[in-house]
Protein backbone atom coordinates (compact mmCIF):
# COMPACT_ATOMS: atom_id res chain seq x y z
CA UNK A 1 0.00 0.00 0.00
CA UNK A 2 1.27 3.48 -0.82
CA UNK A 3 1.98 5.71 2.13
CA UNK A 4 2.01 9.46 1.69
CA UNK A 5 3.17 11.99 4.23
CA UNK A 6 1.86 15.37 3.26
CA UNK A 7 3.35 18.48 4.90
CA UNK A 8 3.38 16.92 8.35
CA UNK A 9 4.49 18.84 11.41
CA UNK A 10 4.81 17.46 14.94
CA UNK A 11 6.04 19.42 17.91
CA UNK A 12 6.38 18.67 21.59
CA UNK A 13 5.80 21.92 23.42
CA UNK A 14 8.33 24.38 22.06
CA UNK A 15 10.39 21.72 20.32
CA UNK A 16 9.54 20.95 16.72
CA UNK A 17 10.52 17.37 15.98
CA UNK A 18 9.20 17.14 12.43
CA UNK A 19 8.85 20.29 10.37
CA UNK A 20 6.55 20.48 7.34
CA UNK A 21 7.76 17.24 5.84
CA UNK A 22 6.40 15.47 2.77
CA UNK A 23 7.28 12.03 1.44
CA UNK A 24 5.83 9.40 -0.89
CA UNK A 25 6.46 5.76 -0.11
CA UNK A 26 5.64 3.31 -2.85
CA UNK A 27 3.71 0.09 -2.45
CA UNK A 28 5.95 -2.83 -1.52
CA UNK A 29 8.98 -0.67 -1.01
CA UNK A 30 11.43 -0.88 1.89
CA UNK A 31 12.39 2.66 2.71
CA UNK A 32 14.85 3.68 5.42
CA UNK A 33 14.65 6.83 7.49
CA UNK A 34 18.28 7.52 8.29
CA UNK A 35 19.66 10.23 10.50
CA UNK A 36 21.39 11.00 13.78
CA UNK A 37 19.44 10.67 17.01
CA UNK A 38 17.01 13.51 17.55
CA UNK A 39 16.46 14.14 13.84
CA UNK A 40 12.76 13.25 14.08
CA UNK A 41 12.81 9.85 12.40
CA UNK A 42 11.19 7.96 15.28
CA UNK A 43 8.64 10.75 15.63
CA UNK A 44 7.62 10.16 12.02
CA UNK A 45 7.34 6.44 12.66
CA UNK A 46 5.19 6.93 15.79
CA UNK A 47 3.05 9.44 13.89
CA UNK A 48 2.44 6.90 11.14
CA UNK A 49 1.54 4.35 13.81
CA UNK A 50 -0.89 6.83 15.35
CA UNK A 51 0.84 6.92 18.69
CA UNK A 52 1.53 10.61 18.17
CA UNK A 53 -1.08 12.95 16.73
CA UNK A 54 0.14 15.41 14.11
CA UNK A 55 0.00 19.13 14.63
CA UNK A 56 -0.41 19.64 10.91
CA UNK A 57 -0.51 17.71 7.67
CA UNK A 58 -1.95 14.36 6.61
CA UNK A 59 -0.86 10.78 6.48
CA UNK A 60 -2.47 8.77 3.71
CA UNK A 61 -2.53 5.01 3.39
CA UNK A 62 -3.36 4.12 -0.21
CA UNK A 63 -4.91 7.52 -0.75
CA UNK A 64 -7.07 7.31 2.39
CA UNK A 65 -6.44 9.90 5.09
CA UNK A 66 -5.69 8.13 8.37
CA UNK A 67 -4.35 11.13 10.29
CA UNK A 68 -7.24 11.22 12.72
CA UNK A 69 -7.62 7.47 13.17
CA UNK A 70 -6.40 5.96 16.45
CA UNK A 71 -3.61 3.38 16.26
CA UNK A 72 -6.10 0.58 16.76
CA UNK A 73 -7.75 1.28 13.41
CA UNK A 74 -4.69 1.91 11.25
CA UNK A 75 -3.63 -1.70 10.77
CA UNK A 76 0.07 -1.05 11.07
CA UNK A 77 2.61 -3.56 12.32
CA UNK A 78 5.42 -2.17 14.47
CA UNK A 79 8.67 -3.75 15.59
CA UNK A 80 9.94 -1.66 18.48
CA UNK A 81 13.53 -1.08 19.37
CA UNK A 82 13.51 -3.39 22.41
CA UNK A 83 10.79 -5.53 20.75
CA UNK A 84 8.16 -4.65 23.41
CA UNK A 85 7.01 -8.25 23.75
CA UNK A 86 4.44 -8.84 26.47
CA UNK A 87 6.47 -10.59 29.17
CA UNK A 88 3.47 -12.24 30.81
CA UNK A 89 2.29 -13.97 27.64
CA UNK A 90 3.76 -16.93 25.78
CA UNK A 91 5.20 -16.49 22.32
CA UNK A 92 1.98 -17.91 20.88
CA UNK A 93 -0.16 -15.46 22.85
CA UNK A 94 2.10 -12.58 21.88
CA UNK A 95 1.63 -13.29 18.19
CA UNK A 96 -2.06 -14.08 18.63
CA UNK A 97 -2.77 -10.89 20.58
CA UNK A 98 -3.62 -8.61 17.62
CA UNK A 99 -5.86 -11.30 16.15
CA UNK A 100 -7.56 -11.92 19.47
CA UNK A 101 -8.38 -8.22 19.74
CA UNK A 102 -10.08 -8.46 16.35
CA UNK A 103 -12.22 -11.31 17.65
CA UNK A 104 -10.99 -13.75 15.05
CA UNK A 105 -11.99 -17.36 15.62
CA UNK A 106 -9.74 -19.66 17.62
CA UNK A 107 -9.00 -21.89 14.67
CA UNK A 108 -8.22 -18.96 12.42
CA UNK A 109 -5.88 -17.50 15.04
CA UNK A 110 -4.15 -20.84 15.44
CA UNK A 111 -3.69 -21.25 11.72
CA UNK A 112 -2.32 -17.76 11.18
CA UNK A 113 0.02 -17.87 14.16
CA UNK A 114 1.49 -21.18 13.05
CA UNK A 115 1.85 -19.97 9.50
CA UNK A 116 3.65 -16.85 10.67
CA UNK A 117 5.81 -18.86 13.07
CA UNK A 118 6.88 -21.05 10.14
CA UNK A 119 7.72 -18.01 8.08
CA UNK A 120 9.79 -16.43 10.85
CA UNK A 121 11.28 -19.81 11.84
CA UNK A 122 10.18 -19.82 15.47
CA UNK A 123 7.66 -22.67 15.29
CA UNK A 124 9.39 -24.59 18.08
CA UNK A 125 9.36 -21.61 20.46
CA UNK A 126 5.63 -21.00 20.65
CA UNK A 127 5.19 -22.27 24.20
CA UNK A 128 8.02 -20.22 25.70
CA UNK A 129 7.92 -16.83 27.32
CA UNK A 130 9.87 -13.84 26.03
CA UNK A 131 12.33 -13.95 28.94
CA UNK A 132 13.44 -17.43 27.79
CA UNK A 133 14.38 -16.25 24.31
CA UNK A 134 17.61 -14.88 22.90
CA UNK A 135 17.71 -11.43 21.36
CA UNK A 136 17.44 -12.75 17.83
CA UNK A 137 14.49 -14.98 18.73
CA UNK A 138 12.69 -12.09 20.40
CA UNK A 139 13.27 -10.11 17.25
CA UNK A 140 11.62 -12.83 15.17
CA UNK A 141 8.64 -13.02 17.55
CA UNK A 142 8.26 -9.28 17.32
CA UNK A 143 8.32 -9.48 13.52
CA UNK A 144 5.78 -12.28 13.56
CA UNK A 145 3.48 -10.28 15.79
CA UNK A 146 3.78 -7.27 13.52
CA UNK A 147 3.15 -9.26 10.33
CA UNK A 148 0.43 -11.65 11.49
CA UNK A 149 -2.33 -9.08 11.02
CA UNK A 150 -1.39 -8.49 7.38
CA UNK A 151 -0.51 -4.87 8.08
CA UNK A 152 -0.96 -2.06 5.56
CA UNK A 153 2.51 -0.96 6.48
CA UNK A 154 5.29 -2.45 8.56
CA UNK A 155 7.24 -0.07 10.76
CA UNK A 156 10.67 -1.05 12.08
CA UNK A 157 12.17 1.14 14.80
CA UNK A 158 15.93 0.51 15.04
CA UNK A 159 15.20 -3.22 14.84
CA UNK A 160 18.81 -4.38 14.94
CA UNK A 161 20.29 -2.06 17.54
CA UNK A 162 19.85 -4.54 20.41
CA UNK A 163 21.62 -7.40 18.63
CA UNK A 164 25.29 -8.26 18.60
CA UNK A 165 27.30 -7.61 15.43
CA UNK A 166 27.21 -11.15 14.06
CA UNK A 167 23.45 -11.58 14.58
CA UNK A 168 22.86 -8.18 13.06
CA UNK A 169 24.21 -9.29 9.70
CA UNK A 170 22.02 -12.38 9.55
CA UNK A 171 18.90 -10.55 10.74
CA UNK A 172 19.42 -7.90 8.08
CA UNK A 173 19.11 -10.54 5.41
CA UNK A 174 16.25 -12.22 7.28
CA UNK A 175 14.17 -9.05 7.52
CA UNK A 176 14.79 -8.36 3.86
CA UNK A 177 13.66 -11.87 2.95
CA UNK A 178 10.45 -11.53 5.01
CA UNK A 179 9.74 -8.18 3.45
CA UNK A 180 10.23 -9.55 -0.03
CA UNK A 181 8.08 -12.60 0.64
CA UNK A 182 5.21 -10.69 2.18
CA UNK A 183 5.54 -7.71 -0.11
CA UNK A 184 4.53 -5.37 2.69
CA UNK A 185 5.38 -1.67 2.47
CA UNK A 186 8.06 -1.20 5.09
CA UNK A 187 9.54 1.81 6.80
CA UNK A 188 12.81 1.24 8.62
CA UNK A 189 14.12 3.78 11.11
CA UNK A 190 17.83 3.60 11.79
CA UNK A 191 20.84 5.67 12.63
CA UNK A 192 23.16 3.03 11.17
CA UNK A 193 24.07 3.78 7.56
CA UNK A 194 25.18 0.23 6.88
CA UNK A 195 21.76 -1.01 7.94
CA UNK A 196 20.10 1.54 5.69
CA UNK A 197 22.28 0.98 2.63
CA UNK A 198 22.19 -2.82 2.85
CA UNK A 199 18.46 -3.17 3.43
CA UNK A 200 16.62 -0.27 1.87
CA UNK A 201 15.40 0.28 -1.65
CA UNK A 202 15.51 3.98 -0.97
CA UNK A 203 17.00 6.01 1.82
CA UNK A 204 15.52 9.15 3.34
CA UNK A 205 18.35 11.06 4.94
CA UNK A 206 17.00 13.28 7.69
CA UNK A 207 18.37 16.28 9.53
CA UNK A 208 16.66 18.31 12.26
CA UNK A 209 13.12 17.35 11.41
CA UNK A 210 13.39 17.80 7.67
CA UNK A 211 14.42 15.63 4.74
CA UNK A 212 17.95 16.31 3.60
CA UNK A 213 17.91 13.91 0.66
CA UNK A 214 15.95 10.99 -0.72
CA UNK A 215 17.46 8.50 -3.07
CA UNK A 216 18.85 5.05 -3.73
CA UNK A 217 21.77 4.04 -1.55
CA UNK A 218 24.48 4.59 -4.19
CA UNK A 219 22.99 7.93 -5.23
CA UNK A 220 23.19 9.23 -1.74
CA UNK A 221 26.73 8.02 -1.28
CA UNK A 222 28.02 9.23 -4.60
CA UNK A 223 26.24 12.51 -4.87
CA UNK A 224 25.21 13.90 -1.51
CA UNK A 225 23.22 17.09 -1.95
CA UNK A 226 24.68 18.93 1.04
CA UNK A 227 27.49 18.80 3.56
CA UNK A 228 25.24 17.15 6.16
CA UNK A 229 24.52 14.12 3.98
CA UNK A 230 28.11 13.99 2.78
CA UNK A 231 29.38 14.01 6.34
CA UNK A 232 26.78 11.62 7.75
CA UNK A 233 27.06 8.93 5.06
CA UNK A 234 30.33 7.10 4.68
CA UNK A 235 32.70 5.42 7.09
CA UNK A 236 35.46 6.33 7.67
CA UNK A 237 33.97 9.79 7.23
CA UNK A 238 34.60 12.20 4.43
CA UNK A 239 37.17 14.97 4.91
CA UNK A 240 36.01 18.56 4.58
CA UNK A 241 38.45 21.25 3.49
CA UNK A 242 37.24 24.79 4.12
CA UNK A 243 38.52 27.58 1.92
CA UNK A 244 37.77 30.69 -0.11
CA UNK A 245 36.61 30.57 -3.70
CA UNK A 246 37.09 33.39 -6.17
CA UNK A 247 36.89 33.33 -9.95
CA UNK A 248 37.41 29.62 -10.29
CA UNK A 249 40.22 29.39 -7.76
CA UNK A 250 39.85 27.85 -4.31
CA UNK A 251 42.43 28.91 -1.70
CA UNK A 252 43.29 27.13 1.49
CA UNK A 253 46.09 29.02 3.23
CA UNK A 254 48.88 29.30 0.64
CA UNK A 255 47.53 26.55 -1.55
CA UNK A 256 45.30 27.19 -4.51
CA UNK A 257 43.17 24.79 -6.48
CA UNK A 258 40.97 25.25 -9.52
CA UNK A 259 37.26 25.04 -8.76
CA UNK A 260 33.90 25.75 -10.32
CA UNK A 261 33.42 29.37 -11.28
CA UNK A 262 29.98 29.58 -9.69
CA UNK A 263 31.57 29.18 -6.26
CA UNK A 264 32.15 32.51 -4.55
CA UNK A 265 33.28 33.22 -1.01
CA UNK A 266 33.28 30.48 1.66
CA UNK A 267 33.32 27.09 0.03
CA UNK A 268 33.99 23.50 1.03
CA UNK A 269 35.85 20.75 -0.75
CA UNK A 270 34.99 17.22 0.40
CA UNK A 271 37.13 14.17 -0.31
CA UNK A 272 36.26 10.60 0.58
CA UNK A 273 39.25 8.73 2.06
CA UNK A 274 39.14 5.99 -0.58
CA UNK A 275 39.43 8.48 -3.42
CA UNK A 276 42.74 9.86 -2.22
CA UNK A 277 45.40 8.02 -4.15
CA UNK A 278 48.61 7.62 -2.25
CA UNK A 279 52.07 7.62 -3.82
CA UNK A 280 50.90 8.95 -7.15
CA UNK A 281 50.88 12.35 -8.72
CA UNK A 282 48.88 14.08 -11.43
CA UNK A 283 49.03 17.38 -13.18
CA UNK A 284 46.46 18.76 -10.81
CA UNK A 285 45.48 18.03 -7.23
CA UNK A 286 48.87 16.66 -6.28
CA UNK A 287 50.33 17.37 -2.88
CA UNK A 288 52.73 15.98 -0.37
CA UNK A 289 51.92 15.25 3.23
CA UNK A 290 53.31 13.46 6.27
CA UNK A 291 51.82 10.38 7.88
CA UNK A 292 50.77 11.33 11.41
CA UNK A 293 48.85 8.22 12.44
CA UNK A 294 48.24 4.74 11.05
CA UNK A 295 45.05 2.79 11.87
CA UNK A 296 45.08 -0.78 10.59
CA UNK A 297 41.43 -1.87 10.25
CA UNK A 298 41.96 -5.41 9.11
CA UNK A 299 41.35 -5.45 5.40
CA UNK A 300 42.01 -1.72 5.01
CA UNK A 301 44.49 0.74 6.42
CA UNK A 302 43.58 4.27 7.35
CA UNK A 303 46.27 6.98 7.23
CA UNK A 304 45.99 10.34 8.91
CA UNK A 305 48.00 12.89 6.96
CA UNK A 306 49.25 16.37 7.75
CA UNK A 307 49.11 18.26 4.47
CA UNK A 308 49.20 21.86 3.23
CA UNK A 309 45.39 21.52 2.93
CA UNK A 310 45.07 20.57 6.57
CA UNK A 311 44.47 17.15 8.08
CA UNK A 312 43.27 14.49 5.65
CA UNK A 313 42.39 10.83 5.94
CA UNK A 314 43.22 8.35 3.23
CA UNK A 315 42.39 4.69 2.82
CA UNK A 316 44.72 2.06 1.44
CA UNK A 317 42.33 -0.67 0.42
CA UNK A 318 44.60 -3.63 -0.01
CA UNK A 319 47.66 -5.32 1.36
CA UNK A 320 49.76 -4.31 4.30
CA UNK A 321 50.94 -0.82 5.23
CA UNK A 322 53.33 0.56 2.66
CA UNK A 323 54.12 3.68 4.65
CA UNK A 324 55.44 4.34 8.13
CA UNK A 325 54.88 7.01 10.69
CA UNK A 326 56.30 10.47 9.82
CA UNK A 327 57.06 9.36 6.32
CA UNK A 328 56.52 12.03 3.64
CA UNK A 329 53.99 10.87 1.12
CA UNK A 330 52.70 12.13 -2.19
CA UNK A 331 48.97 11.98 -2.93
CA UNK A 332 46.42 13.23 -5.38
CA UNK A 333 42.81 12.71 -6.38
CA UNK A 334 40.83 12.59 -9.54
CA UNK A 335 38.87 15.72 -10.26
CA UNK A 336 35.56 13.90 -10.78
CA UNK A 337 35.72 12.43 -7.28
CA UNK A 338 35.90 15.79 -5.57
CA UNK A 339 32.65 17.17 -4.07
CA UNK A 340 32.13 20.92 -3.87
CA UNK A 341 29.74 22.80 -1.60
CA UNK A 342 28.87 26.48 -1.51
CA UNK A 343 28.73 28.75 1.52
CA UNK A 344 25.25 27.43 2.49
CA UNK A 345 26.47 23.84 2.36
CA UNK A 346 24.62 22.99 -0.88
CA UNK A 347 26.30 20.88 -3.51
CA UNK A 348 27.65 22.60 -6.61
CA UNK A 349 28.15 20.44 -9.69
CA UNK A 350 29.84 21.23 -12.92
Amino acid sequence: MDVTLSTITKSFGAVTAVDDLSLNIHDGELIALLGPSGCGKTTILFSIAGIYKLNQGQILFGGKDVSTLPSQQRNVGVVFQAYALYPHMTVFDNIAFPLKLRNESQSEIKRKVHEMAELTEIAELLKRRPAQLSGGQQQRVSLARALVRNPSVLLLDEPLSNLDARLRTSMRAEIKRLQRETGVTTILVTHDQVEATTMADRIVCMNKGTIAQVGQPFDIYDSPQDTFVAGFIGSPPITFIQGDALQGMFSVGDVQLPCHTSLVGDATLALRPEFIELGCSRDMNSFEGVVSEIEPMGREILYHLNTPLGKLTALETQGRPSYTLNQPIAFSWSNDKALWFDSTGKRVTA
Partner: protein, 274 residues
Protein backbone atom coordinates in the same frame (compact mmCIF):
# COMPACT_ATOMS: atom_id res chain seq x y z
CA UNK B 1 1.50 8.84 26.97
CA UNK B 2 0.06 7.96 23.60
CA UNK B 3 -2.86 9.92 22.30
CA UNK B 4 -5.11 7.07 21.34
CA UNK B 5 -7.48 7.40 24.34
CA UNK B 6 -9.49 10.38 25.44
CA UNK B 7 -8.63 11.57 28.91
CA UNK B 8 -11.59 13.79 29.75
CA UNK B 9 -13.83 10.95 30.97
CA UNK B 10 -11.02 9.98 33.34
CA UNK B 11 -10.69 13.55 34.49
CA UNK B 12 -14.41 13.79 35.26
CA UNK B 13 -14.41 10.45 37.04
CA UNK B 14 -11.44 11.36 39.25
CA UNK B 15 -12.83 14.77 40.06
CA UNK B 16 -16.09 13.17 41.12
CA UNK B 17 -14.31 10.61 43.31
CA UNK B 18 -12.24 13.33 44.93
CA UNK B 19 -15.19 15.59 45.79
CA UNK B 20 -15.30 14.63 49.46
CA UNK B 21 -11.61 15.38 49.85
CA UNK B 22 -11.96 18.72 48.08
CA UNK B 23 -14.83 19.55 50.39
CA UNK B 24 -13.04 18.50 53.59
CA UNK B 25 -9.84 20.37 52.86
CA UNK B 26 -11.48 23.41 51.31
CA UNK B 27 -13.58 23.99 54.42
CA UNK B 28 -10.61 23.15 56.59
CA UNK B 29 -8.89 26.27 55.28
CA UNK B 30 -12.04 28.38 54.92
CA UNK B 31 -13.43 27.80 58.41
CA UNK B 32 -10.30 28.98 60.17
CA UNK B 33 -10.79 32.55 58.96
CA UNK B 34 -14.54 32.88 58.53
CA UNK B 35 -17.80 32.57 60.41
CA UNK B 36 -21.02 31.09 59.15
CA UNK B 37 -24.52 31.64 60.32
CA UNK B 38 -25.83 28.37 61.82
CA UNK B 39 -27.36 26.04 59.29
CA UNK B 40 -25.74 27.67 56.27
CA UNK B 41 -22.74 26.55 54.31
CA UNK B 42 -21.37 29.83 53.02
CA UNK B 43 -19.27 32.13 55.20
CA UNK B 44 -20.91 35.33 56.33
CA UNK B 45 -17.89 37.17 57.63
CA UNK B 46 -14.12 37.18 57.73
CA UNK B 47 -12.61 36.84 61.19
CA UNK B 48 -9.39 36.08 62.98
CA UNK B 49 -11.08 35.22 66.27
CA UNK B 50 -10.40 31.49 65.85
CA UNK B 51 -6.71 32.26 66.01
CA UNK B 52 -6.86 33.93 69.42
CA UNK B 53 -5.39 30.80 70.98
CA UNK B 54 -2.01 31.96 69.68
CA UNK B 55 -2.04 34.94 72.04
CA UNK B 56 -3.95 33.77 75.08
CA UNK B 57 -4.15 30.16 76.23
CA UNK B 58 -7.50 28.44 75.90
CA UNK B 59 -9.13 28.36 79.31
CA UNK B 60 -7.62 25.82 81.68
CA UNK B 61 -4.95 24.73 79.23
CA UNK B 62 -1.28 25.02 78.55
CA UNK B 63 -0.14 27.80 76.27
CA UNK B 64 -0.04 26.55 72.69
CA UNK B 65 3.60 27.63 72.49
CA UNK B 66 4.62 25.39 75.36
CA UNK B 67 2.93 22.46 73.63
CA UNK B 68 4.51 23.42 70.32
CA UNK B 69 7.93 23.52 71.96
CA UNK B 70 7.32 20.03 73.35
CA UNK B 71 6.36 18.82 69.90
CA UNK B 72 9.41 20.40 68.28
CA UNK B 73 11.73 18.87 70.88
CA UNK B 74 10.01 15.55 70.45
CA UNK B 75 10.01 15.44 66.64
CA UNK B 76 13.53 16.80 66.20
CA UNK B 77 15.04 14.45 68.77
CA UNK B 78 13.40 11.52 67.05
CA UNK B 79 14.67 12.77 63.68
CA UNK B 80 18.26 13.24 64.80
CA UNK B 81 18.54 9.92 66.56
CA UNK B 82 16.80 7.98 63.80
CA UNK B 83 18.95 9.51 61.07
CA UNK B 84 22.15 8.90 62.96
CA UNK B 85 21.42 5.35 64.02
CA UNK B 86 20.01 4.37 60.63
CA UNK B 87 23.01 5.72 58.77
CA UNK B 88 25.45 3.69 60.85
CA UNK B 89 23.47 0.47 61.09
CA UNK B 90 22.45 0.55 57.43
CA UNK B 91 26.06 0.99 56.36
CA UNK B 92 27.06 -2.10 58.28
CA UNK B 93 24.19 -4.08 56.81
CA UNK B 94 24.75 -2.84 53.28
CA UNK B 95 28.53 -2.94 53.03
CA UNK B 96 30.28 -4.79 55.82
CA UNK B 97 30.95 -8.47 56.05
CA UNK B 98 30.15 -10.09 59.37
CA UNK B 99 28.55 -13.26 60.67
CA UNK B 100 24.73 -13.38 60.70
CA UNK B 101 24.51 -10.36 58.43
CA UNK B 102 21.62 -11.76 56.47
CA UNK B 103 19.87 -12.80 59.68
CA UNK B 104 20.09 -9.22 60.90
CA UNK B 105 18.75 -8.00 57.59
CA UNK B 106 15.89 -10.45 57.71
CA UNK B 107 15.12 -9.38 61.27
CA UNK B 108 15.01 -5.73 60.31
CA UNK B 109 12.74 -6.53 57.40
CA UNK B 110 10.35 -8.54 59.55
CA UNK B 111 10.22 -5.69 62.05
CA UNK B 112 9.60 -3.31 59.20
CA UNK B 113 6.47 -5.21 58.25
CA UNK B 114 5.59 -5.93 61.88
CA UNK B 115 2.78 -3.77 63.29
CA UNK B 116 4.46 -2.06 66.23
CA UNK B 117 1.20 -0.73 67.61
CA UNK B 118 0.48 -4.19 69.00
CA UNK B 119 3.35 -3.64 71.45
CA UNK B 120 1.74 -0.55 72.96
CA UNK B 121 0.62 -2.27 76.13
CA UNK B 122 3.97 -3.90 76.85
CA UNK B 123 5.84 -0.68 76.10
CA UNK B 124 3.52 1.20 78.45
CA UNK B 125 4.40 -1.18 81.24
CA UNK B 126 8.13 -1.13 80.42
CA UNK B 127 8.23 2.66 80.63
CA UNK B 128 6.51 2.47 84.01
CA UNK B 129 9.11 -0.02 85.21
CA UNK B 130 11.95 2.26 84.13
CA UNK B 131 10.30 5.38 85.49
CA UNK B 132 10.11 6.90 82.02
CA UNK B 133 6.32 6.95 81.93
CA UNK B 134 4.83 10.37 81.28
CA UNK B 135 8.15 11.89 80.23
CA UNK B 136 9.12 13.29 76.86
CA UNK B 137 12.36 11.28 76.90
CA UNK B 138 10.46 8.03 77.22
CA UNK B 139 8.20 8.63 74.26
CA UNK B 140 11.16 9.92 72.20
CA UNK B 141 13.04 6.67 72.80
CA UNK B 142 10.03 4.60 71.89
CA UNK B 143 9.13 6.43 68.66
CA UNK B 144 12.80 6.41 67.66
CA UNK B 145 12.95 2.66 68.06
CA UNK B 146 9.75 2.17 66.09
CA UNK B 147 11.04 4.29 63.18
CA UNK B 148 14.39 2.48 63.05
CA UNK B 149 13.50 -0.57 60.94
CA UNK B 150 12.12 1.67 58.22
CA UNK B 151 15.08 4.03 58.53
CA UNK B 152 17.66 1.28 58.35
CA UNK B 153 15.95 -0.35 55.40
CA UNK B 154 15.64 2.94 53.54
CA UNK B 155 19.25 3.93 54.14
CA UNK B 156 20.42 0.48 53.16
CA UNK B 157 18.72 1.03 49.84
CA UNK B 158 20.61 4.29 49.37
CA UNK B 159 23.95 2.75 50.35
CA UNK B 160 23.33 -0.12 47.95
CA UNK B 161 23.21 2.29 45.02
CA UNK B 162 26.61 3.84 45.74
CA UNK B 163 29.12 2.21 43.39
CA UNK B 164 31.48 -0.22 45.09
CA UNK B 165 34.30 1.27 43.08
CA UNK B 166 34.25 4.54 45.01
CA UNK B 167 34.64 2.66 48.27
CA UNK B 168 37.33 0.39 46.82
CA UNK B 169 39.19 3.41 45.50
CA UNK B 170 39.13 5.10 48.90
CA UNK B 171 40.39 1.95 50.59
CA UNK B 172 43.24 1.51 48.14
CA UNK B 173 44.03 5.18 48.71
CA UNK B 174 44.59 4.18 52.33
CA UNK B 175 41.43 5.31 54.10
CA UNK B 176 40.17 3.25 57.04
CA UNK B 177 36.73 1.73 56.75
CA UNK B 178 35.37 4.23 59.25
CA UNK B 179 36.84 7.08 57.27
CA UNK B 180 35.42 5.63 54.08
CA UNK B 181 32.00 5.71 55.68
CA UNK B 182 32.35 9.22 57.02
CA UNK B 183 34.03 10.92 54.08
CA UNK B 184 33.07 8.88 51.04
CA UNK B 185 29.79 7.14 51.72
CA UNK B 186 27.85 9.61 53.86
CA UNK B 187 28.15 12.46 51.33
CA UNK B 188 26.88 10.15 48.62
CA UNK B 189 23.77 9.13 50.52
CA UNK B 190 22.89 12.68 51.54
CA UNK B 191 19.58 12.60 49.60
CA UNK B 192 18.67 9.55 51.64
CA UNK B 193 19.55 11.27 54.89
CA UNK B 194 17.33 14.20 53.94
CA UNK B 195 14.47 12.00 52.85
CA UNK B 196 14.65 9.92 56.00
CA UNK B 197 15.00 13.07 58.12
CA UNK B 198 11.85 14.56 56.64
CA UNK B 199 9.99 11.31 56.95
CA UNK B 200 11.03 10.78 60.57
CA UNK B 201 10.18 14.36 61.48
CA UNK B 202 6.74 14.15 59.93
CA UNK B 203 5.95 10.85 61.51
CA UNK B 204 7.11 12.12 64.92
CA UNK B 205 5.14 15.31 64.41
CA UNK B 206 2.00 13.43 63.46
CA UNK B 207 2.18 10.57 65.94
CA UNK B 208 -0.72 10.42 68.32
CA UNK B 209 -1.34 7.07 69.91
CA UNK B 210 2.03 6.52 71.56
CA UNK B 211 2.30 10.04 73.02
CA UNK B 212 -1.33 9.75 74.16
CA UNK B 213 -0.65 6.57 76.09
CA UNK B 214 2.94 7.17 77.16
CA UNK B 215 3.00 10.90 77.92
CA UNK B 216 -0.53 12.15 78.53
CA UNK B 217 -0.11 14.83 81.17
CA UNK B 218 -0.28 18.53 80.36
CA UNK B 219 3.41 19.33 80.94
CA UNK B 220 4.66 16.92 78.33
CA UNK B 221 1.75 17.01 75.93
CA UNK B 222 2.46 17.25 72.21
CA UNK B 223 0.17 19.00 69.76
CA UNK B 224 -1.70 15.88 68.64
CA UNK B 225 -2.64 14.96 72.20
CA UNK B 226 -3.39 18.59 73.02
CA UNK B 227 -5.76 18.91 70.06
CA UNK B 228 -7.55 15.63 70.70
CA UNK B 229 -8.09 16.44 74.34
CA UNK B 230 -9.38 19.85 73.29
CA UNK B 231 -11.89 18.20 70.97
CA UNK B 232 -12.88 15.71 73.67
CA UNK B 233 -13.49 18.33 76.31
CA UNK B 234 -15.09 21.08 74.25
CA UNK B 235 -17.20 18.54 72.43
CA UNK B 236 -18.87 19.52 69.23
CA UNK B 237 -19.17 23.21 69.80
CA UNK B 238 -16.30 24.91 68.11
CA UNK B 239 -15.08 23.23 64.96
CA UNK B 240 -13.55 26.46 63.71
CA UNK B 241 -11.27 26.66 66.73
CA UNK B 242 -10.27 23.01 66.31
CA UNK B 243 -9.53 23.61 62.66
CA UNK B 244 -7.45 26.68 63.42
CA UNK B 245 -5.42 24.75 65.99
CA UNK B 246 -5.26 21.91 63.50
CA UNK B 247 -3.98 24.13 60.71
CA UNK B 248 -1.39 25.59 63.06
CA UNK B 249 -0.37 22.06 63.98
CA UNK B 250 -0.24 21.01 60.35
CA UNK B 251 1.89 23.90 59.07
CA UNK B 252 5.25 22.09 59.06
CA UNK B 253 3.63 19.15 57.32
CA UNK B 254 2.18 21.43 54.64
CA UNK B 255 5.52 23.15 54.12
CA UNK B 256 7.45 19.92 53.77
CA UNK B 257 4.73 18.54 51.56
CA UNK B 258 4.79 21.47 49.16
CA UNK B 259 8.55 21.41 48.75
CA UNK B 260 9.33 17.75 48.84
CA UNK B 261 6.28 16.06 47.42
CA UNK B 262 8.18 13.99 44.87
CA UNK B 263 10.69 12.77 47.43
CA UNK B 264 7.92 12.01 49.85
CA UNK B 265 6.19 9.89 47.22
CA UNK B 266 9.40 7.95 46.75
CA UNK B 267 9.90 7.47 50.46
CA UNK B 268 6.33 6.32 51.00
CA UNK B 269 6.86 4.02 48.06
CA UNK B 270 10.21 2.81 49.30
CA UNK B 271 8.87 2.52 52.80
CA UNK B 272 6.47 -0.10 51.67
CA UNK B 273 8.67 -2.01 49.31
CA UNK B 274 10.44 -4.02 52.00
Amino acid sequence: MSQNYRTWPILIFLTFMSLILFLLYFYFLLDTVTNQAPGTIWPSEFTLEHWRFLIEPIEGRQSIWRVTLNTIIFASSVTLIVVFLSSTAAYALSRLNFPFRSAFLGGILVLHAFPSVTLLIAIFIILQLFGLYDTLQGVILVITALELPLGIWLMKGFYDTVPWESEMAAMTDGASRFRVWWQIMLPQVRPGLFALGIFAFLSGWGSYLFPLVLAPSADVQVLSVYLSSLIDSLGRTDFSLFKAVGLFYMLPVVIFYLFTQDKLMNVFGGAAKG
